[in-house]
Amino acid sequence: MTTFKTIGKSEPRRDLPEKLTGEAKYTADVQLPGMLFGKILRSPHPHARILSINVDAARNLPGVRAVVTPFDAPKGQVAPDMPILDTEARYVGDEVAAVAADDEDLAEAALSLIEVKYEQLPFVTDAVEAIKPDAPQTRPGGNLVGGKPLTLIRGSVEEGFAQADRIFEETYSTPAQAGAALEPRAAVASWDGDNLTVWKSTRGVHADQLALSLALDVPRGNIRVMGQNMGAGYGTKDETRLGAITAVLAQRAGRPVKIELTRQEEFVAGRHRHGTTTTVRMGVKNDGTVTAVHATTIMDTGAYLSSGPGVIRRAGQGALYLYRCANVQYDGYLTYTNTPSGGSYRALGAPQGHFALESLADTISEALGIDPLEFRLKNHVGLEGQPGERVTPANEVLDTQPVEGGVPFSSNGLRECLQRGSEAIDWGQPSERPESGNLRRGKGMGMFIYRGGAGGRSIARMRLESDGSLRLLTGLMDVGEGSLTVMPQIAAEELGVGYGQVLVTFGDSETTPEAPLTAGSTATFSTGTATKEAARQLKARIIEVVAPLLDTEPSNLQITDDGVEHIQYPERSVSFAQIAESVGEIEVEAAISPGSRDHVINSFGAHFAEVEVDTDTGQVRVLRYIAAHDSGRILNPKLAINQVEGGVSQMLGFTLSEQMLTDPRNGVTLNASFLEHKSPTVQDFPEMQVLFADVVDPVGPFGAKALGEPPSIGVAPAVANAIYNAIGVRIRDLPLTPDRVLNEIEAQRGDSQ
C-alpha cells in the first residue's frame, strides 16, 4: 500500500484564513484612485429593435463621465451571437446602454435620463412553443439552434424496442434554476495607455483575456485579467459582456470604472440552469433487462446560446450510457426564446436528463415487480463499458462522453456505490411509520454517470525561486472548489516535500501560464496532471543540478522537506536556498492534454434519500441522505465531503423550491430575489452521509477523477422516487413545491376513484 505525505490528507483550505477574517479581496472590493461607478440600462421589452437612443440629458448630468450605446460601441463580438451592445434586445433585462459616473447614485440617475425608442417585436417565452412551426421568431435563422436536433445513436432503438416485452414512456420537466452565486458579478477596468487591466469575477482569466481581445480588438498581450477571489458561480460566470462594457466605459472616461450587478440583475442577467422537457422511452424484457433507451430533450437556452450546445449534449449522456444497452438514441432540441440566457451550471444538463431517466427506471421497476435497487444492479453499465464496436480510431484519445460501445472504462465503482449506499440507508427496511396521521415516509434512489475530468490542454509551471522557495503557477481559478489547496498537495507529493512548502500563484493572465476554465469538473484531473508532471520535471532538474555539487550521481539523491540529500549519507545535503544560490532560479513548464486512448474516464455515483411528506400541507422534509461517489482516489477528504454535501444541498433547492418564473404576457422575470427564488438555508440541511468508493483510477493524477459536479446529478430522482415511495404519487415536474405536491395528491386520488 502506497503511503503519501499529503495526498489523501485533509489539508486545511489554503485561502480560508483570509476569507474568515474579511481580508480576502473579491472583485467588488477593488478600489482604485479616481474610480467611477458604472450602471447598465436594460431592456423593458422581451424582444425589440432599438431605433434610437438619446443620451444628451444623461451626458449633461454633472458627474457623468462616459456613456456607451449600441450605436457607438466597438463592433466586436463577445460571443458568436452577442456583440458588446446590440440594436436588438432579446429578453427583459438585456443590456441596452451603459454609463459611468462619479458615484453609484449619479450613475443610476443618469440611466433614467436616457431615452430609448423601441420597436417591439413578436416574442416567445416557452421552449416547447418556440419549436412549433408558427412560433414567433427570436432570430432570422429560427428558434431551433442549428435548425435540427442533436441526434446521437448507438445500435438501433427500433430493434431494441422490437426485442422488448414491455415499453414505458414518461415525460418530465425541470425549470430554469438561477445560479445566483452570492457574489453578484462585478468587473473593474483600468487603462494605462494601450494597456488594459480587468479585475473580474471569473472562472478563467485566460479565456477572458482572449474574449476581451477579440471583442475590443486589442492585442491579447495588452490585456491583463486578474481573477481575485471568486464568490462562486457553479459554472454560470462565463460571459464577457460585462467586462467589455466596463472596459469601453473606462476607456472613454479615461478613468477606472467598476460595475457591480445588483442582486436582481444577477438573477436576470446572470446565467441559469436550462429549463428542460424530457421524454424517455425504455424497452425492457419481463426479467428487467433493458433493450432500448430513447430520450428526447427540449431545452430552453433563452435569449443567447452561451454554453447551450454543451448543455444539450450532456443532458443525453445518462440515457446513452448509464444502462447497459446496445440500442440507444438521444435527440436534443436546443431552442432560443425571449427569456434570460441559460448557461453552464454544475453538471450542465446531466441533472435534468437523469431526473427523467431515473424516475422512469422506478416506474419500470414497480411495473415489473422488481426492487428499484435490483433493477439498477441488473442493468448498470460495468467496467467493460457498453456493447458495440469502437468507432474512435485506436490511436485517438477517447471522448469522456462517448456514444460508441466497445470501449472500457478506466475504472467504474458504480456497483460499490449502489451496494454501500443502499446498506447505509437500510434499503431493505421500510421507513418507520410516523406517529402523526398526515405524515408519510419513504425512501428513494438514483444513480448517475458523468465525465471523469479529462478536459482541455493545461499548463503548469513550477519554480525553485531565488530564495529557495518552491512555487506552482497556473492560470486556474479557485472558484470555491478547493483547487488552490489540492494543486499544491499534488505538487508537494510528487516533489516529496511538505504540503505547506509549495507556494501557489493562480488566476492572473500575465504571470501564470494558460489553464482551461475551472469547469466541467476537470481542474483536479487536467491541471492536476499538468501540475504533477511539472513537479516531476522540477524534481529531476533539481537533483540533476545538485549531483555535481554533492559530487555524486543523481540516482543517489533524494528530495526532503529541506532540500536534497544523499540517500546513504544524509549528512551530505544542500538546502533549497543553497541550491538556488548556487545555480539560480530553476523553472520548468509542463503542458498536457489529458485523456486516454484505451479507456473512457468517467465518474459515477448513487444517491439515496429518505423523506417525510405532510399530506395536509404538501411539505417535503428530507430526513436522511446518503451520497455514494466513485471519484477515484480522494485527494483531500474534508474538502471532498464539503463539495458533495454542498452539491446535494444546492440541488435540494433545485428539487424542492427553486425556479425562475417568467411572465408569458411580457417576458418579465417575476422572482429575481432570494425571497422568491427560494434558496436552501442551514435549516433545510438534512442528516447526510458521504461515501467514497474504494477506487484508484489508473489514469487520473494519484488515481483521482472528477468530483465537482457529480454530487448535483442524483438528487432530484432520489428525492422524487422517495416521495413516490412515501405517498404513491409521481410528480413529473420540478420543483416539488408544497402546492404541486398537494395538487398532485388531489389529482391522482381523483384519477384512481
Binding site: S10, P12, R13, D15, L16, P17, E18, K19, L20, T21, G22, E23, K25, Y26, A28, D29, Q31, A57, L61, D105, L106, E108, A109, S112, L113, A180, A181, L182, E183, P184, N229, G231, A232, Y234, T262, R263, V479, G480, E481, G482, K638, L639, I641, N642, Q643, E645, G646, V648, S649, Q650, S673, F674, L675, S679, P680, T681, V682, Q683, D684, F685
Partner: protein, 163 residues
Amino acid sequence: MAQLPISYSASITLNVNGTDHQIEVDHRWTLLRVLRDVLGLTGAKRGCDRGECGACTVLVDGDPVCSCSMLALQVGGRQVRTVEGLGDANSLNVLQEAFLAEDGGQCGFCTPGFIMSATALLESNTDPTEDEIKAALVGNICRCNAYGRIIESVKAAAKSEAS
C-alpha cells in the same frame, strides 16, 4: 423628467471595532456602504442589498444586523463590530480556527456574515444545540451550501470555548 438625486448630509460618530470615526454621511447611505466605501472595511459583502442573504452581517451593540438594511445615520453613537475586529489570518480567534479546521466555507463570500452571526450566538449562548445553531444562522445564505461544515464548525468552536 427624471428625479435627480438630492442629498442631505450629517456628521455622525461611528464606533467601529472600538475606534471612533467622525464621518460626514449622506442621509441615504447604508451602514454597509459606509463600512465598505468610506472606511474601507470590505469584509461585509453586498450580496443582495435588501436583507435577504446575510453576507453583510455585522454586530450593532452585540446584535447581528444586515448592514445593508440599516442607515448609517441610525448607528451614530452605537458600537459596531465587523469581521475585521476579530483577528487576522495569522492570528485567528477560536471561532475562525474552528471554521478552518472543519472546512466551514467554500467560495468564502458569505463567510464573514456567518462568522458574525455565529459570534453573536456564541457570546449569548456558550453551549448551543444544533437547532439553536441553525436558528442563529438561518438568515445567512451560502449558495455553495457548505451548511454541513458550517454547523460542524460552530459546534467545534463552542466545544473548544468550553474546554
